[in-house]
Symmetry: C2
Subunit: 218 residues, 2 copies
Amino acid sequence: MASVAVENYLKSMWELGPADVATQELAQHLAVAPASATRMLQRLSERGLVAHTPYRGASLTTTGERKALAVVRRHRLLETFLARTLKLGRDQLHDEAERLEHALSPALEAAIDDYLGNPQRDPHGHPIPGPQGELPPEGDVALGDWPLDRPAKVSQVPDRDVEKLAWLEAQGLVPGRELRLVARDPFDGGVTVKLDGKLLQVAASVADEVRVSGEGAT
Amino acid sequence: MASVAVENYLKSMWELGPADVATQELAQHLAVAPASATRMLQRLSERGLVAHTPYRGASLTTTGERKALAVVRRHRLLETFLARTLKLGRDQLHDEAERLEHALSPALEAAIDDYLGNPQRDPHGHPIPGPQGELPPEGDVALGDWPLDRPAKVSQVPDRDVEKLAWLEAQGLVPGRELRLVARDPFDGGVTVKLDGKLLQVAASVADEVRVSGEGAT
DNA sequence: TATAAAGTTTAGTCCCAGCTAAAACTCTCA
DNA sequence: TGAGAGTTTTAGCTGGGACTAAACTTTATA
């Protein structure tokens, strides 16, 4: 089994990918020193999990991506499981799943998947990779990029940023919620949306992390 | 937070205690070399978690025991939670909980305890320490030591030994089951019990690990 | 009670994964 | 185009936790 550290590096690589990831970016994401990231990239490279070009960045190999997706799958299954059973709030899920994802055996993973009825999305709306890492094509788009006046449904909200998440939750902006975009600020990228007849200002930084899709899709 | 290794050493010490534990015994229990156990005992001793007398063995300090019980609590809550939600068999619980117990945050522990309604026993009948490590006094006794002909109720079965557990389960010897001891082999310590009118031979090695109590108790 | 056997600790290594400081590389822009 | 800024890598250390081999205690036995 891969160590916790290795799993975290692979997961970060996947989250920052698929383009080449800079050492510094990776290091920041993991809160380690750049030199530590370099060293680990060299190890992962030896093990065939990443392709690392010195001074140029690194990306996951197919094998590496498969392993990364296995971690993501466990993470998202756990979030869904904890939400379903314990009714944890969306803002608590991420950190808990982050800890547990490295300790989930294949048998338990399967049992949870089964219990949940093979869910396709976690409570943040993120797609759950299949047992072999299959991911459905994403049919959604950032809230800020949605055309004006066309009905949309929230498909994904961020999972890491507890601040934004709490705000979104308070406004009822959760996956499944229907809305309409009524205005876009051309300068800062913020948007105004209409929810149940009420208007709501959404800052650009938040709008960037909320994804929406048309009625039919997702 | 104590590392996984430290938590495992403390838990083993607790399981093997409360008398002084020999280095070799501890090492075997954890599947490490005796020298490794010595080194760790020295560390734990420095940190005030065990009292180690060179060449004589070691035992938990009060602080060490508190930490050990916290791990045991997480373990048993997890077993109960997994059994309740996922309907895992008694024989799968131990290994899964063993992995997860080190990754359970205080918040999640509390949420699980709450969800389960503050259970007092895990699915093997083992008592679950309270949040501060409180353990109820045990009113039970090994099956082999129960007097003949007096009605008894199974209170605890082993959790580690999958073989024995599977056998016990197959015979219906699970916590809560009522039985009567009808004979005891004076030589090997095996016993014969009566379950629902049927007679059943129980080998000494198994009888040693099953605990029973009178009707009222437990 | 001496000595052998059994158990324990010390000494010396190894690997992992982090760190800082210094060196090497790349890129930009004057 | 070449100098400095920024990024990345190398070098060298640290600590955790494992291992083996050798030295040392304790216990058991003759």
